[in-house]
């Protein structure tokens, strides 16, 4: 089959669909979980409903970040990425979409866990809402780390110039996208679980907030080691095989 620039257009559309389609799944799941926990909390403690609804909206906004990253890459692929190039560039556009889409699943689900725990805790102990919300937001910010790695790799794949049709470089581009995309899922989901339990602990006994936040941050940092390895492998593959 003859290579034409139409294939780059195909790759841009396909990559854009992958990016926002898969990324939306994680965010939506996380936000739905927050809303579920908020409804439960309001049913138990109707007097605190305004506090709970506020917490729900703030934590849902953080959970939405992952989906917005997917949307951003999708828009870049549709309107910003170059429309001519070889097979290597075409593959790297699809890989960019895969990387961002899959990389956002974990962050969406994980920050949903943390936000749900915040709503539940505030429903139980409305007086502690400031402390609980602060810990939740710190935890959710760390949960986004893997997703941000995926955004960086995805931008490199979509925007760096790559030439030629070398099949070796084609493999390297798919490998880079796959490595960072899937590498970010585990860290995202599980650091959200860490934040959830830290928030829960904070609502039990706010005097131990310092040691809980410290343990949460330490645990989340160690849990991100795998995502950092994926980032390194993705960088090596992108920069040593640009075709």
């Amino acid at each position: 089959m003859e290579w034409t620039n139409d294939w780059i257009l195909v790759a841009r559309f396909f990559g854009a669909a992958l990016a926002v389609g898969i990324a939306a799944f994680g965010s939506a799941y996380g936000e739905g979980y927050i809303a579920l926990k908020a409804s439960e909390a309001i049913a138990r403690q109707p007097k605190a409903s305004s506090e709970i609804v506020r917490t729900m909206l703030i934590t849902q906004a953080v959970s939405e970040t992952a989906g917005i990253f997917g949307l951003l890459i999708s828009i870049i692929l549709l309107f910003v990425a170059k429309s001519e190039g070889g097979a290597v560039f075409g593959t790297s556009l699809v890989a960019a979409g895969l990387c961002m889409g899959v990389g956002a699943i974990g962050a969406g689900i994980g920050s949903g866990q943390a936000g749900g725990a915040a709503c539940e805790s505030i429903g139980r102990y409305p007086k502690l809402s400031a402390n609980v919300l602060l810990t939740t937001l710190v935890g959710q910010a760390i949960v986004q780390t893997g997703c941000i790695f995926a955004l960086v790799v995805s931008m490199l794949l979509a925007l760096l110039t790559k030439e030629g049709h070398n099949i070796v470089a084609v493999g390297a581009m798919v490998g880079a996208g796959w490595s960072m995309g899937f590498g970010a899922i585990g860290a995202g989901i599980s650091t959200g679980f860490t934040a959830k339990n830290a928030v829960w602990g904070m609502s039990r006994d706010s005097s131990i907030g310092g040691v809980l936040t410290r343990t949460m941050l330490l645990g989340q940092a160690v849990a991100h080691a795998g995502a950092i390895y994926s980032l390194i492998i993705a960088f090596i593959l992108v920069f040593s095989n640009r075709g």
Binding site: I167, S179, S190, T215, L218
Partner: protein
């Protein structure tokens, strides 16, 4: 493509090396990532229940996470071997 269709063999081998490295590290980071975060979560829960045991719990968490990390490091080693050595 690389060899005008004449003899793709060597190119395919190199392609599989890089593709394999990406697959290996991507999937390999899933498990340790999940496991370590759950360990950290339960350590936080334990500290909330028994704050005086915080040092012991943190130590246990780190040892458990280090063991859980080992498979992620295997993936990293294999990915680097695929890229640079094989």
């Amino acid at each position: 493509m690389g060899a005008e269709g004449a003899n793709l063999g060597p190119y395919l081998v190199d392609m599989a090396k890089y593709l394999g490295a990406g697959l290996c590290m991507g999937m390999g980071a899933l498990g340790p990532g999940l496991g370590e975060g759950f360990a950290a979560g339960k350590a936080c829960e334990g500290i909330a229940r028994a704050p005086e045991q915080a040092a012991l719990l943190t130590r246990t968490m780190l040892v458990g996470q280090a063991v859980s990390e080992s498979t992620g490091i295997y993936s990293l080693v294999i990915a680097l071997l695929l890229i640079f050595v094989v």
